[in-house]
């Protein structure tokens, strides 16, 4: 009886561990791409944007795609290798934190392409088989896009930033956010205090985002930007609740990396990264046999980065105009040039 029960339980566990999508996908295309992600693809932020980028690019290129999300850190490598063993042509890992796992798998699977979003500039050179490419949106420019809006919109003079983990790209976004906000406010003779970045230590714990946002609002922060996936969703919930309690929307949030205007009342705009074009370029390189060993940059200049739509109800027209001017200056490489 005990053995039968153990057998039934084991079988049930094995089935439940299969990703649902894996049960429904039938392979028809010549090429296949698989994405791994430690946050959820339904997080309304980073995970969702990266997944949509892959879906868009795969749709344009006629590739099959698969995803495994919400994986723990110790499962990065195993998840990648599982897809390698299933014969996927390209592994898409959207985050600097996957670097070690990607390099290890890339060494063991020389015929498979590994596209590392937010990978380091030196990472492709570290791949023994030359089969790793970094897709690198300019994190400083991302910070600028959000920071300029924060500097224009902050009334309290205090703004906040929430991170998931202390990654190089997160630090660069924070630095860009800080300098742009202070520069823009400085033009109006205002001073902006940017609270030190806080880290949830995870991209999934939305409750931490709620608590961080409440604590930062207590410190006077009235504009938020983040790089923490579902943690940011929690922060937006707390901001919405605070605005409701106050009877007016006076605390704002800036989304990234897709346009999330309308998702929450507090969202005044978004920094948008067209990861889809970067993934598509990788796919083209795979098909042409030229993949690997390079860094594909995403910038304001090549159109991979942009500012999303602004909330016309919350952002005054003159601020919209000035913000557009600042974005143009960034594109023309004249922002903070003086």
């Amino acid at each position: 009886m005990k053995k039968v029960f153990a057998g039934i339980l084991t079988a049930a566990m094995a089935v439940s561990l299969l990703p649902a999508a894996m049960l429904t996908q039938a392979s028809a295309a010549d090429y296949k791409v698989a994405m791994i992600c430690d946050s959820s693809i339904s997080d309304g932020g980073w995970g969702a944007a990266c997944y949509n980028a892959m879906v868009d690019a795969a749709g344009q290129m006629g590739w099959d795609y698969e995803v495994t999300d919400s994986i723990a850190q110790d499962e990065y490598y195993n998840s990648i290798v599982s897809y390698c063993m299933l014969g996927y042509n390209m592994i898409y890992a959207p985050g600097n934190q996957y670097t070690d796992a990607v390099l290890q798998a890339a060494e063991e699977y020389p015929d498979i392409a590994f596209a590392l979003l937010n990978g380091g500039e030196g990472t492709p050179a570290q791949a023994v088989n030359g089969n790793v490419t970094s897709l690198l949106p300019n994190a400083t420019q991302i910070g600028w896009i959000a920071g300029a809006l924060a500097g224009l919109m902050s009334k309290s003079g205090t703004i906040a930033f929430i991170g998931g983990m202390e990654l190089d790209t997160t630090l660069a976004k924070y630095a860009g956010y800080t300098e742009a906000a202070q520069y823009v406010a400085g033009l109006d003779g205002k001073e902006i205090k940017v609270l030190d970045p806080v880290y949830a230590g995870s991209f999934n714990d939305s409750n931490k985002g709620i608590e961080f946002a409440k604590a930062m609002m207590d410190e006077g922060a009235d504009v938020f930007f983040g790089d923490a996936s579902a943690v940011d969703s929690g922060a937006r919930q707390a901001i919405d609740e605070a605005n409701t309690a106050a009877g007016a929307i006076s605390v704002y949030d800036i989304g990234q990396p897709s346009d999330i205007l309308g998702q929450n009342e507090c969202v005044i705009g978004s920094q948008v990264t067209d990861n889809s074009s970067l993934v598509r370029l990788s796919m083209e390189a795979v098909e042409n046999g030229t993949f690997g060993g390079e860094v594909i940059y995403g910038t304001l200049q090549n159109g991979a980065l942009s500012a999303g739509k602004l909330n016309a109800d919350l952002v005054p027209e003159d601020v919209q105009t000035r913000y557009a001017e600042f974005i143009q200056q960034m594109i023309d490489e004249k922002f903070m040039a003086e």
Binding site: A20, F212, S233
Partner: protein, 309 residues
């Protein structure tokens, strides 16, 4: 450090302690009947998903909590059958629940919502302010402006204390965890009590998980239980297997977490990693001190075979 900082810190402590407290109380009912269930993380995970899903579909947070409880009970029956009827190892099946239940939750979420990237949100349970009392300075918001679940959780703590200390049924229940054979000679159905313990444990852990998605966060993300099931285990030991002790333990753990978040925001020029260590250091220190005088139920985790002498 001003009054507002302290008041907000205490409010954050309560918010973070309540789900922990519900899960810990579930474990208390389990361990008092000799059932050491380390699968709380899994039970809370399935409760969290079902609570969110039902609230999302029906718009009723109460129904979500109820179904979260039922889901916790249903999954915990696997553990109950294996450990009570088949006398299998508690730790092994507890771990199995921790692997199985979150994966099952993930599977159900994907089946219902598909592989789409849209963020699903629900309306959270509203707080109930007690007129007049909520305006009391400092303590008003803390004690009299919470969701009904906070008041219910405190009521469960009080009921549990009375049940185990002042009622015959509670003493019989505890006897099963202390000396099941002696309890059986007094006519107590040990097997029935152990199954009842698993039902209560599953229900409270499921509600603890459902609380996260019906009263705390309006979205569901995989992994949102975030280790609370394991901290709840520590809270039961820290709380010396009493509901009052567990209440204090959960408030302590909630306070440590709330404090590290508030200190990160204040920063004071200290690396944030230092603050993130606070809850873990506090857990280790407390368990080291408490562990020296362990006073758990004597038959904890031991299989009960009726015919064995």
């Amino acid at each position: 450090m001003n009054t507002a900082f302290i008041a907000n810190l205490i409010l954050a402590t309560v918010r973070m302690a309540i789900p922990l407290l519900l899960i810990s109380l579930g474990e208390l009912y389990g361990q008092r009947a000799g059932m050491v269930n380390i699968g709380l993380e899994g039970l809370a995970a399935i409760g969290s998903l079902v609570g969110f899903l039902v609230s999302f579909v029906t718009g009723s947070n109460w129904l979500g909590l109820l179904c979260g409880a039922l889901a916790g009970v249903a999954v915990n029956m696997i553990y109950a059958f294996a450990t009570v009827t088949l006398c299998a190892d508690h730790t092994v099946y507890g771990m199995a629940i921790n692997i199985f239940a979150p994966a099952l939750a993930s599977f159900i979420y994907r089946v219902y919502f598909g592989s789409g990237s849209e963020l699903s949100q629900i309306t959270l349970m509203r707080g109930v302010a007690i007129p007049g009392l909520k305006n009391i300075p400092f303590f008003g918001d803390l004690l009299f402006n919470q969701t009904p679940m906070v008041y219910i959780t405190v009521a469960i703590v009080i009921f549990t204390a009375i049940f185990f200390k002042r009622t015959q049924a509670g003493l019989n229940y505890k006897a099963v965890g202390e000396h099941p054979r002696a309890a059986a000679t007094l006519g107590i159905s040990v097997i029935r009590v152990k199954y009842l313990a698993c039902v209560i444990c599953g229900a409270l852990a499921g509600i603890g998980g459902a609380y996260l998605t019906t009263c705390y966060s309006n979205t569901y993300t995989e992994g949102n239980v975030a280790g609370r099931g394991f901290i709840a285990l520590a809270a039961v030991i820290f709380g010396r297997w009493t509901s009052g002790g567990i209440l204090l333990a959960c408030l302590f753990f909630g306070f440590c977490d709330a404090l590290q978040i508030r200190l990160q925001v204040g920063s004071f020029g200290i690396p944030y990693q230092f603050f993130q260590m606070i809850p873990y250091i506090a857990t280790i220190v407390v368990l080291t001190l408490i562990g020296a005088k362990q006073a758990g139920p004597k038959a904890n985790g031991k299989p009960y075979r009726r015919e064995q002498r």
